[in-house]
Symmetry: C2
Subunit: 333 residues, 2 copies
Amino acid sequence: MTDGTNRQILLVEKPTGKLGPEHFKVSEAAIPEAGDGEVLLRVRYISLDAANRAWMHGATYRSAVEANSVMAGGGIAEVISSNALGFTPGDIVFGDTGWQDYAVVRGKHLTKMPKVEPMTYLLSVYGIAGLTAYFGLLNVGRPKEGETVVVSAAAGSVGSIVGQIAKLKGCHVVGIAGGADKCQWLTSELGFDAAVDYKAGPVFKQLKAAAPKGIDVYFDNVGGDILEACIAQMNLFGRISCCGAISQYDGTPSAHGPRGVPGTIVVKRLTMQGFIVMDYDEQRSQALADLQSWVGSGKLKVQEDIISGLENTPQALIGLLAGENRGKRMVKL
Amino acid sequence: MTDGTNRQILLVEKPTGKLGPEHFKVSEAAIPEAGDGEVLLRVRYISLDAANRAWMHGATYRSAVEANSVMAGGGIAEVISSNALGFTPGDIVFGDTGWQDYAVVRGKHLTKMPKVEPMTYLLSVYGIAGLTAYFGLLNVGRPKEGETVVVSAAAGSVGSIVGQIAKLKGCHVVGIAGGADKCQWLTSELGFDAAVDYKAGPVFKQLKAAAPKGIDVYFDNVGGDILEACIAQMNLFGRISCCGAISQYDGTPSAHGPRGVPGTIVVKRLTMQGFIVMDYDEQRSQALADLQSWVGSGKLKVQEDIISGLENTPQALIGLLAGENRGKRMVKL
């Protein structure tokens, strides 16, 4: 039994339009106790992901989050006490801790993490972001040397890694991001060949200039109009790796899909494939070994955007959905 | 030199809306002579395909057909005279002969066909229709025994073969077609497990009843609303084989694509893949051997819809786009 209180962020109402601070409230509860097969955790870092917003629409690859419960979310946490085999106090784990100081989670739903410095890398490059980039690009997109790879939300946690891995594989890499600063950062700091600022004008024309040979692999984080513009510029036998649809999450989902489906899919013999990082659990250690070697040799730069204080988690997500982060956003408790 | 005239059907104007007889005219020309590397052909059967209409919109996997030229189209023809290596009078070939009695085609653009009885099978089950069904289902859709396969335009040349092959592979097979007669034919004659009549009401609900375990493989010939209804009912890791978009060809192409792209693609980890039969040329002989064995043993029924007279070709295509055919439609000259 641990004395003290457990601060929690509740989702008080599911948004029908744009997510705002009014959809959350801070609450306090007693620190819970671990039952049989469970582990009591002290949460250290909460991961912020566009998918958090998608969970509010309904069941996705997980059940929907419900109003008047602790907001769901992945986190890195330290084991305080354990009634589950294989976990001992001091262990560092990843799991769906929710937005709170303490969480009780079943051992079988936790992944034990290695101790790395900084610990935040467990949420960024060695976490879901890095693995999503790795599998979505290499297993789904399957770029070949010399091909053109385009990634949207390119300055985000996943996109910034996708583009860098594509460069490591010898591709011509174009990032799509919002704002001149982000675009400048992609080309000057991360080594992208070109960047398209979707806030500066229609994507279609800018993309035509940035990817003059057409697109072989498009890593889609956003859906909507940008997906439509990319479909129209895909090369024969091109691959679209469908990772997410940020543009569709915050507000009412679009009443229709992109033009070119299925016409261009047929004519250009494109493959569009959805994936989720959990599907590749078996190949996880190889992926981590590659990512570690690239980070170690300085070929892969890690960008993190760390915000302090549990109470700032709602605003951190709202801001992420508005595209204000660069690299992996998380909240330090 | 062959005496006589060559009747030809010209496309006099590219349709902007629905295709009608006014877009064609019959014309007469001299029978052409084969130049160096060319072959003079007497056309025996002209293939009618929904793709003929798509070619009028612009370049697809081939260049667009142009106004005031002989309408393009595949056909089975007999060699009359040849200046191309490997072709001798009497040979039966397949090629883009266009809609005319005689055609001169370069030898390298022709495929020599075996002599089979009836010759029409070279356009149906052993032609593009049969091979499209075979590769699109087995190489792209990759159904496993016990899975649910749904095919649209199921009473058409490709769909009717797709469904039968899926049954041969041990799948639960649902066909989507227009009209009670066609639906009845699919289940009673071709062995489909269920059929959905899209003219009898919304496809979504009917499909839910016909495919209660959800859809593992959807073979899409139509695009549009039916594709949308199928996407919504796909199972995890389902595959959509994108063969065509008949619903989009005759008239102004749709201003948008189906809902669920990319949202459902991600959540359900679907693969949508476009293909064209020519992409599988290397595996052609294996496919033909399989098709022949199934036809020979009576496991695969061949349905043809043969119309007589070159002058009836425009109406035959217009009718095909309206869905009036059952099985492979062709014109006998």
